[in-house]
Symmetry: C2
Subunit: 390 residues, 2 copies
Amino acid sequence: MGRSGRHDATMTPPPPSNDLHDAFSADFEHELRFTRSVLDPSNPLLRDLVGWSDRGPRPGLIAVVDSGLHAANPGLPEAIERRFDDPGLPELRETIIVPGGETAKNDPAVVETVLSAIDTHRIDRRSLVAVFGGGAVIDAVGFAASTAHRGVRLVRFASTVLAQLDAAIGVKNGINRFGKKNFIGCFDVPVAVVCDEVMLETLSDRDWRSGFSEAVKIACLKDADYLDLIENNADRIRERDPDASRPVIRRCAELHLHHITRGGDPFERAEARPLDFGHWSAHRLESITDFAVTHGEAVSIGIALDTMYSHLVDRIERAEADRVIDVLKRLGLPVHHEALHGEAILAGIEEFREHLGGRLTITLLDGIGRPVDVHEIDPEVVTRAADLLS
Amino acid sequence: MGRSGRHDATMTPPPPSNDLHDAFSADFEHELRFTRSVLDPSNPLLRDLVGWSDRGPRPGLIAVVDSGLHAANPGLPEAIERRFDDPGLPELRETIIVPGGETAKNDPAVVETVLSAIDTHRIDRRSLVAVFGGGAVIDAVGFAASTAHRGVRLVRFASTVLAQLDAAIGVKNGINRFGKKNFIGCFDVPVAVVCDEVMLETLSDRDWRSGFSEAVKIACLKDADYLDLIENNADRIRERDPDASRPVIRRCAELHLHHITRGGDPFERAEARPLDFGHWSAHRLESITDFAVTHGEAVSIGIALDTMYSHLVDRIERAEADRVIDVLKRLGLPVHHEALHGEAILAGIEEFREHLGGRLTITLLDGIGRPVDVHEIDPEVVTRAADLLS
């Protein structure tokens, strides 16, 4: 029928269908790059990742910097400015410093500031937000970027061990509300995650060490060989030897990436969240202590608790459980906290269930690299596990 | 290697890779249901869509109702309460009335109210938000639901023609900020979209008619036969004959659904947005007139303008352009507004570009069902097109 063809006015309309069901899929790409001195003008990485190819107007860019990173690297804003002088890259329109650590996720002003800068500088869906910082700042800034214009392009420059091997790899973001961690957030895939080794050099010893608990977690869940690698390098990692730390950080990032891209549930719609091993108590511990315990430390304690619990319910052998706990200690991480003994910690079980919804699903260990999901936790056994760790 | 196997301490770590790239895809399902009297306890649809199967705790539900819908149907909250008394459905925990129309998207209190209710009533990712209303309320409530716990389940009950054939079908949501339409939002797929014909019966004549401009738009873009169907039924549609309107509404919803699920770009990452035909001026017209023009009316005017523009740049024949404009008029829709003649309307071109980013991309018509993307708009031709419509 031609484009001016007409049906007769008496035609029967197509029978109306009551049910329209359609399945579809969407494709995503996840780029993760390790480098040194990404802002050095001789480093080609940024041109490779976000180079401007002269098609359409030159895109804009705003940079958002974690105050903690800025304090340790006062020259960073100038280095960012110098790098984006390059006409082959997006045009830098503003550099904003935002509070680092959990404040970034607790203070709604951080998201507001970034949204307002996106508006003021006309950052559109082809333009960029570049965030430089730790996991909390990346989470909060990422939420702003993902919701402005339904998603402007985000490049995450992960500046902590925790961010480089875990937090910045994920495809989610979020902020805290109503006193609950990550109450608000969404799933989104960044344009790229850049892990610059130089940024780790100015971390405090405490922040350096805090990151490696997530590596132990991934080893417990995914790869017994990887626990060997951590174990064999633990003392040198604690002493911040970059050659010992580098392969541990990269392998963790890779395992995390593959969990998302090859695990079959990138946007966490299934019941289980295996990567949250040790996290029910960790989240709660952070909030009970008003974040005096870092996330990495809380995760270390949470791993120790759920590993010992796994032993007490006859899953993992004592020698293996002790091995996990020993690695954490050798990395300079805590495996116990007084708050584990009170009633308050147990509220973390229900909070954890509620965030995910449906049945409680907690990951335990049948062995190293052999996770198992359970749907009940016995508070008395939690207390006994805490006692064994004290 | 057994689970307590160890590598030798002198082993060579795996060579660190600088670049980790992984592609992945995610699967989605889109459910669209047409029915009558969905809240009648004898209607099995809700049990079919969101029935509770006794696995895990009974999920919760909050209902959010558009004030416009509530004003026209004061018994609605009670009907919702009665329906969800059914133990085979989620448990209703609160029904909230929120301002209808564009106020829902302009007033940040609407999103806040819904987030706060999600927190108070412990609505988790397995629980539900049910929104009853027009496109604007569905957009704002959807944004809250999509970002709480990174997405609680949402069922959209579309109560207007515009929502049933267009707004509620999309996989996005959003609110206005900084005086810009949809500045904040995200992509998300609802659990289901329910179109209840009974809800349309209490619409004002103006709101009834406003919905059909999107049907003409879809016909212009996708399906010349569908324009025949609208044309042949236009007079009866204007008079609100349900038998003439039903197939037009359902076919539009179906074309819209297939655009999303089969068009290859469900989350609009490509440059073109063909479904936004006529929308650059429509969005601007709404904002210039402070929403005195409804979205559907503005879209009708925008379609007429871009169709006439297409003729003036030698794309569509005059007779075909006139046919589109005539259908709009016969549906009782406006095709002209005084504000089309000023400078102010032209700012809509840049606003439209900015929201999408990159090059300007405007859809014109080479014929009915034959859209074409262009990257430039001549302001003088816009003015001549407006003159021809006045």
